[in-house]
Amino acid sequence: MSSDIFIWPFNLGLYFILIYSVVRSTIWFRNLSRADKLRLQRGFFGMPFMQSIREIFMESLLHRRIFKKNPVLGYMHMSLAFGWFLLIVFGTIEADFFGERHLNPPSHAIFFRWFNPEHGTTGLASLYGHWMDFLLAFILSGLLLAIFKRFIPGMMGMKKTTRHTWTDRIALTSLWLIFPSRLLAESFTCGVHGSGGFLTGNLGAALSSLLPAADIAPYFWWLYSLSLGTFFFLLPVTRYFHIPVELLLIFMRNSGITTADRWSAYTEVQTHACSSCGVCISVCQMSRAAGINDMQSTYFVKGLRNERDIAAITANCLMCGRCDEVCPVGIELGPLRLIERRQGERPATMLSFFDRYGLTRRREHIEREQTQSYSYLAPEKEQPADVLFFAGCMTHLTPSVIVAMKKILDSAGVRYRFMDEQGGVCCGRPLMLAGRDREARELINHNSDIIWKSGAKTLVTSCPICYKVFRESYYLEAQVMHHSEFINLLIEEGSLRLGYLHRRVVYHDPCDLGRGSGIYDEPRAVISYVAELQSVAEERSMSLCCGGSLGNLTLSSEKRAMIAADTARTLTQSAPDELITACPLCKKTFVQATETRVSDIAELVAAALPRPVRKTRSRASLTAVKTATDG
């Protein structure tokens, strides 16, 4: 038995990682809030558990989401994860079925060929051997792709691969060594004994005809076990820790736990679940249009994981939500950034190698100082209204939108009050995006007071930025509508008479309206009603940000202009007559970036209103008609 000690690196690694994972998950569980604990407990005995199993199968093993985004990348992930999974399952069955005993320790399945070198030359066993060889080949094909991707990232249509730490590199090397060393170990052993499937058998025969296979085989079995053991030991401090953590994340999410607005065990699980797949890098306009390559979500998440001072990275983001949309793990990247923006100053810590195994490490909440106060805002007097129109500070910078909205509302006979006609108080969202929630709260309270007192049933706003905050952070009785929704309603109920404009137009989904609030169809319905709407590349949930975002206060205007130009170019590819948006800030940004005429959806609709007919004129034409019919 003394020759079997090579299995110990594997055994130790395996027991270590199992125990570590259980302990760490237990601590995470203990750190959850009462409500979240309850959610998880209920989830365990209900539907969420089954859903999670399904999702784990589809996403963690088959990698369906990555597959949809990028088939080659998907295949790579699938062959490694699903292939390995099958190899373990069928290996265990093989050991149980063909081995000398039932219920073997895991090492007997993993090193089956070593313990049963002559197995599988005939009948069912030989067929099974071919199957196991096929699985190995499946994994190796994915591995080959992974190696290609590492050295030629462009091959997979990915712009960049994420950067690695040295522990990541060692772990990666050991991961890469696992399957080639298994292949060689099995082949040498099979070569000696004339066994093996189509892969190990033939390779073994070839190798043993050239080399002293019996002497060489043990070295590869050692390498196989060592690389497995190293991989397991390093797992918690490398990006590969995401593999077990993602399973936990899926279960937590399906049980109904959400990110909320503070650091929690759930946010920590999310930061550990990032696979550094880099999908968020390739969609980020900061890199593709402005050449900024150090602030993308994967780096942000890594900074969180490693307790770095990432204030600069956190701030330098458009908050456009494109990465959220594509992250295959489903990490809530926007909300995480907002939590980080709410933090006060954090000293940069350099975690040592062993710190990173720390079981109880948690990101502290650092209260940020309140810098300004709006306590001088006096409550306004009561002014009743059915419909309140709130233009918003951004819309006040695009007076043409206000003029258009007034025309539309008047033409439809809407009895409304223009809440901030003489200038109003900001909706609060810019402050929230800057992480200044307490200050924002004062503005929100002030505006809420006005809206409540008015008794309005509907609150219409022209700015998606205000719209989002009214819907999400205000407590209101009034129904909040973006003007595109409201205009659509007016058209549907027949209150607006509109002509048709013979213009070819394209529509840009503003981030906060589209991805941020899910409003895609109403603006399109309105536009199609009055003009010819053409489709553009990267529409709807993958719409590009105009670059003017209020979510980023550190980006230079040159970089903003680069993003704006890139987006405008994509939108105007079909040389439309007009570029329509539904956000005053987008409009202002695009006007500087393109020669194409840029209008807000309200301006387009106002242009389709019938021209006010002069009284005298209409009488004259009436008489003309009369005389014509008389004669």
Binding site: H396, L397, T398, P399, S400, I402, V403, E421, Q422, G423, S557, A561, K587, K588, V591, Q592
Partner: protein
């Protein structure tokens, strides 16, 4: 065989182009002056009176017209120079309409464009009736009638400086140099025309860079009671009386300010001209980050393009007043003649 007479193309018939053509012709060089518009003259055609002395712009126009009335000058109008390229020793200018012109050298004098005030929507140009640009006001001076859209006489006028200049948001970081003093000049003219009308200028800095400019600025305050408020106008709207309401961040007093105006004049800045930019792009001429043509050397080669036989004159390289445009243009002629002699 008689030596062929040298031939120079001047692209753009503004102040710079006309002066260059005149100087070259005087030296016996054959000139083709190509102008995009109806008539030569450029922006000067729009101005009523000139700073600093408020002399009629017509005087300078007359001088320039005389300058180009020369047998050596062939004037082609309503024609755009689209591309300049080398062909052996010759330079060929491709013109709109598909024709071409051959010469030994080219002087580019494509001038500037006024900033399109629609791009600064928060000021309401094209949306509110009584928002006009400095160029519109010159037009009103020409007609000797400064009135609101409804024909009424304004009792308070505001001049907004730096519209489209020194403004990152519209991708223009440069100062247009002449608009401060142009505002001072226009403010005085308004006060003289409408003694009952109050005048306010909203500025970031007053840049009185030329001779007698500072004196004009003083005169405007001491004699004509023009008010200067240091502050940035953030937005404009209209109230029920159809008066404009502007919001200003008064940076000296350190507090926000609201003011009602009857007429608002936007001091639009100077930008690289669009047709000049197209010409530069097509011909491979360098442009700087301010998008104006970039000279071969900032200090001693501001007329040189860095390409053999192509020279620059006037505001196609940077904002300038007429005085500097004419000097710059003459220097371009000197460079051109030296180049022709050396061949």
């Amino acid at each position: 065989m008689k030596e062929k007479r040298k031939h120079v193309i001047v692209a753009g018939g503004g102040v710079a182009g006309m002066e260059a053509a005149g100087s070259l012709a005087e030296m016996g060089i054959r000139v083709t002056l190509i102008e995009k518009g109806e008539d030569p003259g450029g922006h000067l055609l729009q101005w009523h009176a000139l700073f600093p002395g408020r002399r009629p712009a017509e005087e300078v126009r007359k001088y320039l017209r005389k300058r180009i009335a020369h047998e050596n000058i062939n004037i082609i109008t309503r024609t755009t120079v689209e591309k300049i390229r080398h062909h052996g020793h010759e330079i060929i200018a491709d013109l709109s309409g598909g024709t071409e012109e051959r010469a030994d050298a080219v002087i580019v004098a494509t001038g500037f464009d006024l900033f399109d005030a629609h791009r600064k929507e928060e000021y309401g140009y094209g949306i509110y009736d009584n928002v006009i640009t400095s160029a519109d006001l010159e037009e009103m001076f020409n007609r000797k009638r400064v009135v609101r859209a409804d024909g009424s006489v304004p009792s308070r006028i505001g001049f907004i400086h730096c519209v489209g200049s020194r403004d990152e948001k519209v991708n223009n970081n440069h100062c247009s140099k002449v608009c401060c003093v142009a505002a001072v000049k226009q403010a005085i003219e308004v006060r003289k025309l409408l003694p009952q009308c109050e005048v306010f200028c909203f500025y970031m800095d007053m840049r009185m860079f030329g001779p007698y400019y500072e004196e004009l600025y003083r005169e405007s305050q001491e004699v004509h009671n023009v008010n200067y408020i240091r502050g940035k106008v953030s937005e404009a709207s209209v109230n029920i009386n159809n008066r404009l309401v502007i919001k200003v961040e008064d940076t000296l007093a350190g507090r926000p300010l609201k003011m009602e105006l009857d007429l608002m004049v936007l001091m639009v800045g100077m930008e690289m001209s669009k047709s000049g930019a197209r010409l530069a792009e097509a011909s491979g001429l360098n442009t700087g980050i301010n998008r104006f043509l970039e000279s071969a050397d900032h200090h001693y080669g501001s007329n040189r393009s860095g390409v053999a036989g192509i020279f620059y004159a006037g505001t196609c390289t940077a904002p300038m007043n007429i005085t500097d445009t004419i000097s710059h243009s003459r220097a371009a002629v000197e460079e051109t003649v030296r180049y022709l002699g050396g061949r």
